[in-house]
């Protein structure tokens, strides 16, 4: 029945791929068993060709708990900073806050450009200043959001909310008919892929323009720093962005993840990480040159720290993005068929 499958899909998409199939299969069996019993005890006849009575299905799924609750019950909560029951809200909040933050920074940047026209050679410095400011603020805001949600999770996690206690607690009422339609977990978010391809292309264009205009934008005293930070790693930066563009294009065209695309995703990210590593190393090698344009020793130390931080954050994002692909490549869902036996055989 469609409602049950939608429910199982919603539970399954919140579970790690490795245990998803088995948990969903077990839940499905249990729901069907319970519904058959419910039909018998209610005296509702159900010809084999017909589905279950919708009211009984709704009641059964409500009794089982919302998909968030059921998925969360499979996780010992203390292991996770933000568990499945809060993860959706966390993602929404992060998206909303960062969109707002980006918009506010963009508007403020435009206002300062308008209010304080730039002298030649100042643009790169101003842009870099705003970039660091945005980065610092983003890190702080993200850390704050994580802390808030982790605190909410911990505050809710008292003895009474342990999974075993749910046996005796009432479930919050929710309507299974509001569950989302079944999607394909392998399906590619085409809009996201095309957006990423466009972003890669735009960044390539900006990079080309930056390289072309570098002598006008950067004072002579910073030419070595600019060269080691931008020109030496340029082939890797172009490779990373070009491969990223091609990858996202193919991803959007294929529309479904498969093994080759997952490997390609990993490879493109590794090229991008190496390119960034070269940029950071180039910057660190000559960051002392910033003293020539008025940076204090302390400010240079902070800039070096920020460069490392960018590398660490990018690496963390890369790991985060690729964990699910690595799971598919090397873990995979358990092969249910291999463990199924026929009774009596």
């Amino acid at each position: 029945m469609e409602l049950i499958e939608r429910y199982l899909y919603d539970v399954g998409r919140r579970l790690p791929a490795k245990q998803r199939q088995e948990v969903v299969d077990e839940l499905r069996t249990s729901i069907y068993d319970a519904l058959e019993d419910a039909h018998e005890s209610e005296g509702i006849s159900r010809p084999a060709a017909q589905g279950f009575n919708e009211e009984l299905v709704v009641g059964e799924l409500q009794g089982l708990g919302s998909p968030q609750e059921v998925a969360a019950s499979y996780f010992p909560q203390s292991r996770y900073l933000i568990g499945p029951q809060h993860y959706d809200q966390f993602r929404q909040t992060v998206t909303w806050v960062f969109s707002s933050l980006g918009a506010v920074f963009f508007v403020l940047f435009c206002i300062t450009l308008w209010a304080q026209p730039l002298e030649p050679g100042q643009f790169a410095g101003r842009l870099a200043g705003w970039g660091w400011e945005l980065l610092d603020t983003s890190i702080f805001v993200f850390a704050l959001l994580v802390l808030i949600f982790a605190a909410i999770q911990r505050l809710e996690w008292d003895e009474d909310s342990a999974p075993e206690s749910a046996a005796f607690e009432g479930k919050a009422l929710w309507d299974p008919r509001d569950l989302p339609a079944i999607g394909d977990l392998e399906e590619v978010n085409r809009f996201g892929a095309i957006t990423s391809a466009v972003a890669d292309l735009v960044l390539l264009g900006l990079l080309a323009r930056l390289v072309y205009q570098l002598p006008e934008l950067i004072p002579e005293s910073l030419s070595t720093l600019a060269s080691s930070t931008l020109l030496t790693p340029l082939p890797w930066l172009v490779a990373a962005l070009g491969l990223g563009f091609l990858f996202h294009l193919v991803l959007a065209l294929r529309g479904k993840w498969h093994r080759g695309l997952r490997l390609a995703h990993l490879a493109v990210d590794l090229v991008a990480l190496y390119a960034l590593w070269q940029v950071v190393q180039g910057f660190l090698a000559h960051s002392g040159d910033l003293a020539a344009v008025g940076f204090s020793e302390n400010a240079i130390r902070v800039a070096n720290g920020n460069a490392w931080m960018v590398l660490v954050i990018f690496s963390a994002i890369l790991v985060w993005e690729n964990v699910k692909h690595l799971r598919y490549l090397f873990g995979g869902a358990p092969a249910k068929g291999s463990s199924v036996q026929v009774a009596g055989s």
């Binding site: 069996t29 089982l64 075993e164 199924v340």
Partner: protein, 124 residues
């Protein structure tokens, strides 16, 4: 199996009393589950078995518990096709039997102590 006498109704779920009752009952759930897995049971049959004995457990509680006990090495599990759909059967393994015996001993000691404490007129 005949049903035991029904549990007294729970007070308001948010009251301190209800929380204490929850804690008390939660402590019994693992032992109750292990005690019914000397022979193979699938999740729903175990739910019914426990309910018949007077312990109502919800599916969303029992299934994660079964997975946890299996992961802890106390239960063995296998999928069997019996009837219209495959079912995952659980049963105690050797370690599970040993732990059940140990928990049962501790339980009996606790019950004995508690009966003494609750019957002690000095506690009035």
């Amino acid at each position: 199996m005949p049903s035991s006498s029904p549990s007294p109704p729970l007070p308001d779920a948010n009251s301190p009393e209800a929380k204490l009752i929850l804690e008390l009952r939660r402590g019994c759930l693992v032992l109750a589950t292990l005690s019914q897995l000397k022979s193979p049971q699938y999740g729903y049959s175990l739910l019914q078995e426990l309910a018949q004995q007077g312990l109502e457990v919800e599916q969303g509680t029992l299934y994660p518990l079964l997975r946890r006990l299996a992961k802890q090495g106390l239960l063995s599990d296998e999928w069997l096709v019996e009837g219209p759909r495959p079912r995952k059967y659980y049963r105690l393994n050797d370690e599970g039997h040993r732990v059940l015996a140990s928990l049962t001993n501790h339980w009996q000691e606790i019950v004995q102590v508690m009966e003494g404490l609750l019957a002690d007129p000095a506690g009035d």
